[in-house]
Amino acid sequence: MAENILELKNISKQFPGVLALDGVDFDLKEGEVHALVGENGAGKSTLVKIITGIYKSTEGNIIYKGKEIEWANPLESVMEGIAAIYQEPTIFPDLNVAENIFMGHHKFNKYTRKIRWKELYDKTRELMKNLNPNIKPKDRIIGLSLAERQLVEIAKALSMEAKIIIMDEPTSALSISESEELFSIIENLKQDGKAILFISHRLEDVFVVADRVTVFRDGKLIGTKDIKDVTNESLIEMMVGRKVKDLFPKIDVKQGKEVLRIENLSKKGNFKNVSFSLHEGEILGFYGLVGAGRTEVAKAIFGMDLADSGKIFIRGKEKKIRNPDQAIEMGLAYVPENRDEEGIILDTDITTNISLPILESVSNFGWLDKNAEIKTANKYSEMLEVKASGLDQKVMNLSGGNKQKVSLAKWLASKSKILLFDEPTKGIDVGAKAAVHKFISELASKGFAILMISSELPEIMGMSDNILVMHEGLVTNYFKKGEATREKILQSAISDKK
């Protein structure tokens, strides 16, 4: 049996009003991949921050390499070989790969303090050889994909001789092939005796990559299991504390009239000749790998990034949409993928967020009716079961799932009947996911027409009536209800051969 490199004994962390971790015993072995799962707010991130020294635990001991330690600051843990790689790597986009890897521990001449560039570049080349030899030491980060940036972060960890590598949601923004490459790199790191702490919402990934899995819920460690002893269902049950009966509560709806038809929509470098149509009561799943061009298509329809050519018909009439203002006027709504940047205003309250697209209906001749505003916000946040201390709470203090609900709620108040959802459940926990799915399904049953972009195959398969698949800017397949299988969809998504 491998040695325990890290042991946590009876760790608790108290925040004002919240016990974030409650008596956690946890261990990590050399050469293992240990997955942490749990809903948002279950305590995973707090645990990671205690391991890396960003937080100090209120109670309990940390034993690292057989010695009890207490980190004075996060830098100390890094120097001792604990590296954390976050969802969106925090690196300097305008510097090159080598500079990023050695940021903070440049090799320099002791007397002149001159950086020894040649050594830096040689070392980088060596590190990159095993990760991805196509990334050159002098490449600027800005030209790299998110997956490549993660590799740079891993290289940085290795350059500091990390013993423990913590990966927080590393695959959430990666395509399938990129994820697979990452998994094989994780496998290699494991062979080298590194201990890897792998945090993910994607349970499929956990089953592929992990040796053991630990489940957190409400600050408590529910259990640590060998991966072969658990199933998808049993993990979810441990995570939410009850059986999630129905993650995809799809209601069968008879489809009505065509409300949106797209003909040969093209935008240079993004997508080409995209055509499809959408009906009342329909949920059209829009699948593809990250970067296939689905978001760009949705944004073009909604008037955010205009297409070069092609036609958009709404309820049979051709329309020119030049900005979101016009799109909303025509009954469209778009719930963007990067919620915090485009979907909601973090720095203001729930009411203001919800009334933003419908200011006209909560005002008289430009005069804001604050009571009407609050009434509307109340109605829709209640309908979506937004959990908050009050409607005047700032959205930035809500959990991911509740932020997403606010981002949806603002469009329900509008008169829009054609809804474009871009990754509606990205990064939210299982409970909130089921709630959002239920809600989307109910909307369709009320006659809304829904285009749902998703990179999660189970979601696409579980929620859609018909499925549209895109690959590198081209629509490669369209599956009518019941025609699609997992294999067929994947096949269309990874190659343009029908």
């Binding site: 955010m304 940047e341 203001t348 908050a388 009050g390």
Partner: protein, 331 residues
């Protein structure tokens, strides 16, 4: 399932005193109590009204500047537009145009200059700070081209009413009334209308505002055009008040105006601010200048005072905020 607590927001003394405009008001009151007891004639009604002449021009432009800064933009060209429109008006008058026609030309030039700013910023999607930095030199340059180093004076008596006149036989200056009307309108528009809400939304998150159907470009264009118009109008007032003009008139006003807005609690990064704060800030700065004038404090010292005031109010506000949040944590 636990839901949103619908109970109304309760009034809290603590958060009331943390509000920037309340802090400013306190500074205003404390300052005035001190200065009243140390300065004879300070409370003289005629003196007080005459004091307002020195702030109405900058105050008017500051009101519009507040909207622009709340959207996360800034207009550095306002003082140059004041200069350009003043010079344009004077040059037309010199060329024999009727004084009121010249006045309208001045307004038109100011409005057009603001419109041009707005067009460049919205069409090319460039940062306002860069574009207005360019037009800051450009408009001032044109003013020099038109008048050279000449000064123009000798406007008609009637024109001097705009900047020097009183309402009837009262001691109330005409420009003050204009300023108060515009201030009330600005407060209402920013805090009570959908337009004001959109202005905040743009400053807080422009992308999200755009994706929510807010006509960002129209609003920015409108605000910069308004800023040009108001600068043109302020240019007319200052020309009328001084009774002459040169190409360097109102030089440096833009920074004073921006300082007033920032002191009023408007965040330079956008999205945060309050028109009441800006209003109090205008009045505070003027009374300080007025009061220190009685004690023969020279103008240069005023710069020290203004700068010091800005830094110390930020420090006091930060101190109060950390003090309160520490108290909350310890509970």
């Amino acid at each position: 399932m636990e839901m949103i607590d619908k109970s109304k927001k309760t009034f809290s003394v603590k958060s009331f005193f943390l509000r920037w405009e309340v802090l400013l008001l306190l500074i205003f009151i404390v300052y005035n109590i001190i200065i009243i007891f140390t300065t004879p004639y300070y409370l003289d009604i005629n003196n007080i009204f005459d004091m307002t002449f020195i702030f109405t021009e900058k105050g008017l432009v500051a009101l519009i500047m507040a909207f622009i800064i709340i959207t996360g933009n800034v207009d550095l060209s306002v003082a140059s537009i004041m200069g350009l429109s003043s010079v344009a008006m004077a040059a037309s008058y010199q060329a024999g145009v009727n004084i009121w026609a010249a006045f309208l030309i001045g307004l038109l030039i100011g409005t057009s200059a603001g419109f041009l700013n707005g067009m460049i910023i919205t069409r090319l999607s460039l940062p306002a700070i860069i574009i207005t930095l360019a037009t800051y030199s450009f408009y001032r340059g044109i003013a020099y081209v038109i008048l050279g180093n000449e000064a123009v004076s000798g406007f008609t008596k009637k024109f001097s009413y705009i900047g020097q006149g009183y309402i009837g036989n009262s001691p109330v200056p005409f420009p003050l009334i204009i300023f108060l009307i515009i201030a009330v309108i600005s407060i209402i528009i920013l805090h009570r209308t959908t337009f004001g809400r959109m202005v905040y939304a743009i400053g807080l998150n422009e992308k999200a505002a755009f994706a929510s159907g807010i006509p960002i470009k129209k609003i920015k264009l409108l605000l910069f055009t308004l800023s040009g118009f108001m600068s043109g109008f302020a240019g007319m007032i200052i020309t009328s008040r001084i009774g002459n003009t040169r190409p360097n008139i109102a030089t440096g006003f833009e920074l004073e105006i921006i300082t007033i807005v920032i002191l009023g609690g408007v965040m330079i990064t956008g999205g945060v601010g309050n028109m009441w704060g800006v209003f109090i800030s205008i009045v505070l700065i003027s009374t300080i200048r007025y009061g220190l004038g009685f004690h023969n404090v020279p103008g240069q010292i005023m710069l020290v005072v203004t700068g010091g005031l800005l830094i110390s109010s930020i420090l006091i506000n930060n101190f109060l905020k950390t003090f309160v949040s520490n108290r909350v944590l310890k509970r």
